[in-house]
């Protein structure tokens, strides 16, 4: 089969704009070959290039005393003492998980695991932030079952504990669910590996699974366009995961890294061999020449186009020191994995790919990777933005049955127990899990030390739908608060920014507002963003977009993990204290949604200085050993927080809540920020 003729029509079918297509001709000074067109199409896709988000992302704070590696690598790296570093990132796998829930979610977990161990870290804990439509829809139940089994099957088999996350439901996720997977690994500070192709003449080695035809154009077409009536036809663009091979790849990579012969390494995720080779060369200002005939292949008669764009899983590309190739090949042979010398690093800044003796790709690296097109898309505030913020409490009836309201809220999909989900995950492998899922942040011990990490993902999409700026601030504050209630100091964060189409000015405005709010909260709370991912085009034609969902993955540090404070009450007779002030705030609350079917009003106000004082108070109280339990008070309000502490402990609770305007529903269910329920030994 010969390659199709490249013309403007074919470029458009590859998702390139006319302007971008013209740019390709200009860069090359000729018509691209078919594989070259494929490369431009994936590398300039929204998913790989961040062309609509790059400028705004640069406004986020990314530096801090603990930060060793900020955004731009496979994952962020922060110092956690004792010569150890924490390597972490969150990433989306939304569209694949909607098209094929089990495989999509599984490979989402697999992808983020590789991002962590490609940096030399052993993955220690996973978290998954999942968003679905309402469960009365059978399709959503199918999606939930598939996604949960996919997350579990991959993490359980690979051997990384899944310790936390979120599951939330909202009608606007019905046609576009979200699967955001976070992983946290530990490495030695002097054992971090970066994705670079340095050292002219050094060998480029392909390791891991063989390349097949799966996942071609996953990044460019599936992830970088909205859903329409052809979505079902995209099932073959979803990759299939093999956690067993990934486990072997982990052990082999960590063992190969110990030889000292590896110069740089990157996983082959989105856009496979293309993305990994271009990014590694681009970061080092070098070029690569590659021979595709040497790539281990699972299927026969694969074309250069397929080999370059396949997103087959469980593969890595690495650059070794010249003359030490054999040491690396031996390690992979021990683990029964393919490893093949596929090319060399060159000094001319070009990517040259040969196949059957012919040069099929000859492109300058930089214009494709680091200097890809960047856009400032138009933004527009939605016309109803101000109307949305209005909620007249006088129109909300006084709750006639507070007990009934409490029971209804406790049993509602967004507040009820998530045990059905997390008991399907191995929470214990690596014997590090000190606080398991179900409370606030999970706490894991840093192996062979006395320190611990508190981990949490957070975002309230209803707040973000009402006000993306304030909603994103809440995501940061609540994630940090969840970490703080365990006694940890919030250290750094990763973000997964899920939005609709950036080509719609209203979505772009939501994105810009979210980034602005996130940056402001991160600066105020001293939490830099060290890694992350943007997922646009989360919408379906005719159905509108998801609510803006800027999910935060927070990492906190405990110097003494044995002092970690659990959420559940510990003993009868303990005193229970509500930290923080309760205001008359029902806007965008669970109470309004569950009890009155209303999504109205502004999210609760957020005083970042008060928030930080609360974190300092929790940190000091925990470290002085004063707290028997501590629990974040947010969705559902003080009544839900108290009930959760009691239900998880088996104890009851008797409490007098501060009066708010003489109205029970305000005292019980107001979602005022910067509060926590703690218990301590009674005086």
């Amino acid at each position: 089969m010969s390659d199709p003729e490249v013309d403007l029509e074919l470029a458009r079918a590859h998702g390139l704009s006319d302007h971008e297509a013209a740019l390709v001709f200009e860069i090359l000074g000729r018509k691209p070959t078919y594989p070259e067109l494929g490369i431009f199409s994936v590398m300039w896709s929204e998913h790989c290039s961040y062309k609509s988000s790059k400028k705004l992302l640069q406004t986020l704070p990314t530096k801090g005393a603990c930060v060793i590696q900020g955004p731009g690598e496979n994952a962020g790296v922060v110092d956690i003492g004792d010569g150890n570093v924490c390597v972490f990132k969150i990433e989306s796998h939304n569209h694949p998980s909607y098209v094929e829930p089990h495989a999509g979610a599984a490979t989402g977990v697999g992808g983020i695991l590789r991002d962590i161990f490609t940096m030399g870290a052993r993955p220690l804990a996973s978290l998954d932030s999942l968003r679905f439509g309402p469960l009365d829809d059978p399709q959503q139940r199918y999606l939930v079952r598939g996604v949960v089994s996919g997350v579990g099957s991959y993490g359980n088999c690979f051997g990384c504990a899944t310790v936390g996350g979120e599951v939330t439901f909202h009608p606007r996720y019905r046609k576009n669910i979200l699967v955001n997977a976070m992983n946290v690994g530990i490495a030695r500070a002097d054992g971090i590996f970066l994705a670079k192709a340095a050292g002219i003449g050094n060998p480029v080695i392909y390791v891991g699974s063989k390349t097949g035809r799966d996942g071609i154009h996953g990044a460019s077409l599936l992830a970088s366009s909205e859903f329409d009536e052809h979505t079902e036809e995209m099932r073959p663009t979803v990759q299939l995961g093999d956690p067993f091979t990934e486990k072997l790849l982990l052990e082999a990579c960590l063992e190969a890294m110990k030889t000292g012969a590896i110069v740089g390494i990157q996983d082959m995720g989105a856009a496979g061999l293309t993305c990994s080779s271009f990014e590694m060369a681009s970061r080092s200002g070098t070029g690569i020449e590659m021979d595709l005939d040497r790539v281990p292949q699972r299927e026969t008669n694969m074309t250069p186009y397929e080999l370059l764009l396949s997103e087959s899983q469980e593969r890595m590309l690495l650059v070794a020191e010249a003359g030490r190739e054999q040491e690396i090949l031996d390690v992979f042979a021990k683990w029964d994995l393919d490893a093949a010398l596929v090319g060399r690093v060159t000094n001319d800044g070009k990517m040259r790919v040969r196949w059957h003796g012919q040069t099929v790709v000859d492109i300058p690296v930089d214009p494709v990777a680091a200097s890809s097109p960047v856009y400032e898309r138009p933004q527009a505030r939605p016309a109803d933005f101000e109307a949305r913020q209005k909620l007249d409490l006088a129109t909300v009836p006084i709750e006639p049955d507070p007990s009934g309201a409490l029971l209804e809220l406790l049993g509602s999909p967004n507040l009820c127990s998530r045990e059905w989900v997390y008991r399907q995950y191995d929470q214990l492998v690596q014997s590090s899990t000190v606080l398991r899922p179900g409370g606030d942040a999970a706490v894991v011990r840093v192996p062979e030390t006395e320190r611990g990490l508190a981990l949490k993902t957070d975002c309230n999409p209803r707040y973000c739908a009402q006000d993306p700026y304030l909603g994103a601030m809440h995501a940061v504050a609540e994630a940090a608060r969840n970490v703080a209630v365990t006694g940890a100091k919030p250290l750094a964060a990763t973000n997964c920014l899920n939005f609709g189409s950036p080509e719609r000015p209203e979505c772009m405005w939501e994105f810009a507002e979210s980034v602005r709010g996130m940056g402001e909260a991160c600066r105020a709370l001293g939490v830099p963003i060290v890694s992350g991912n943007v997922s646009f085009y989360n919408e379906t034609s005719g159905e509108g977009s998801i609510p803006p969902t800027p999910t935060i993955g927070m990492v906190g540090l405990l110097d003494d993990v044995s002092r970690a404070v659990p959420a559940a009450f510990r003993g009868a007779g303990d005193a229970v204290i509500l930290f923080g002030e309760t205001f008359a705030e029902l806007g965008a609350s669970e109470y309004l949604a569950v009890r009155h079917g209303l999504e109205r009003g502004a999210p609760p106000a957020l005083d970042l200085a008060a928030e930080q004082r609360l974190h300092a108070l929790l940190f000091e109280a925990a470290n002085r050993g004063l707290l028997r339990s501590a629990h974040d008070c947010s969705e559902g309000g003080a009544a839900i927080a108290l009930a959760e502490c009691a239900i998880r402990s088996g104890f009851g609770v008797e409490a007098t809540l501060p009066d708010v305007g003489g109205r029970p529903e305000l005292a019980l269910f107001s979602e005022s920020a910067s509060r926590a329920v703690v218990s301590c030994t009674a005086a």
Binding site: S149, G152, S153, N156, C157, F158, G159, D242, P243, F244, T245, K247, L248, W335, D336, Y422, R423, Q424, Y425, D426, Q427, L428, V429, Q430, S431, S432, T433, V434, R445, V561, S562
Partner: protein, 224 residues
């Protein structure tokens, strides 16, 4: 004081509780050596631990591939000579597949993986004594997708552990673990290596691991 027991923990491709089991044994006083599954010849060992995980991905029946690893021939020989062998979770499945223990482990009743704390009661304990007294209840977590024990039709198993208050997986007669007729091979679905520190929720797994190590030392002294 006798020399500490020297335990080999076998690593199959896809084992993932191997380092946990080694650590659990070490915390209970053992000297531990990791054994690669391709090594047919073993060093001098007092006992062997087969860890949990997903050997060969468990893409076939659990443990069905691992039993053909070169190391298993040596493990079977050592077991026949009376060396204590412990199989946890996937290790239990491998021991059943290799015929060191009777019966089989099949998909959980509700077809889902389950990770949860369980309470198991000690019944028959073979060579493993010490604090492992019949009737004692231990708090130890399980985490598996295929942990429902089914006995051989013609052979009643010697039940070592039974879930208290019902099994999490639909196991026949709530069986959580069994011991061989000779009393030196023991397999169970719960993970004692995840229950050796109060910080992580329970120290009851140490009761079994210490009993195992004591039996290893006894068997060594009997060989002399």
């Amino acid at each position: 004081m006798p020399k500490p027991a020297r335990i080999g923990v076998v690593m199959f491709p896809g084992s993932n509780d191997d380092r946990d089991l080694a650590r659990g044994f070490a915390l209970c006083g053992a000297e531990v050596e990791m054994i690669w599954h391709k090594d047919a010849r073993l060093p001098e060992l007092d006992g062997i631990g087969i860890p949990g995980g997903f050997s060969y991905g468990d893409y076939l029946r659990c443990g069905a591939m691992a039993r053909f690893s070169p190391v298993m021939r040596s493990v079977v020989q050592l077991a026949a000579m009376g060396r204590p062998v412990l199989g946890v979770c996937n290790g239990f499945q491998i021991l059943c597949e290799s015929g060191l223990l009777p019966g089989a482990l099949v998909r959980n009743r509700d077809l889902r993986f389950v990770c949860v704390d369980t309470r198991v009661a000690v019944e028959e304990r073979g060579l493993f004594r010490g604090e492992l007294t019949p009737g004692r209840e231990l708090l130890i977590p399980v985490k598996h997708g295929e942990g429902a024990y089914v006995p051989d039709a013609e052979r009643k198993p010697r039940v070592a552990f039974r879930y208290v208050g019902g099994s999490p997986n639909g196991s026949t007669d709530d069986i959580a673990g069994i011991v061989s007729d000779a009393g030196n091979v023991i397999g169970l679905m719960p993970h004692p290596e995840h229950a050796v520190e109060a910080l992580l929720g329970s120290t009851d797994g140490g009761v079994l691991l210490r009993a195992f190590l004591a039996a290893c030392v006894d068997a060594r002294q009997a060989r002399r």
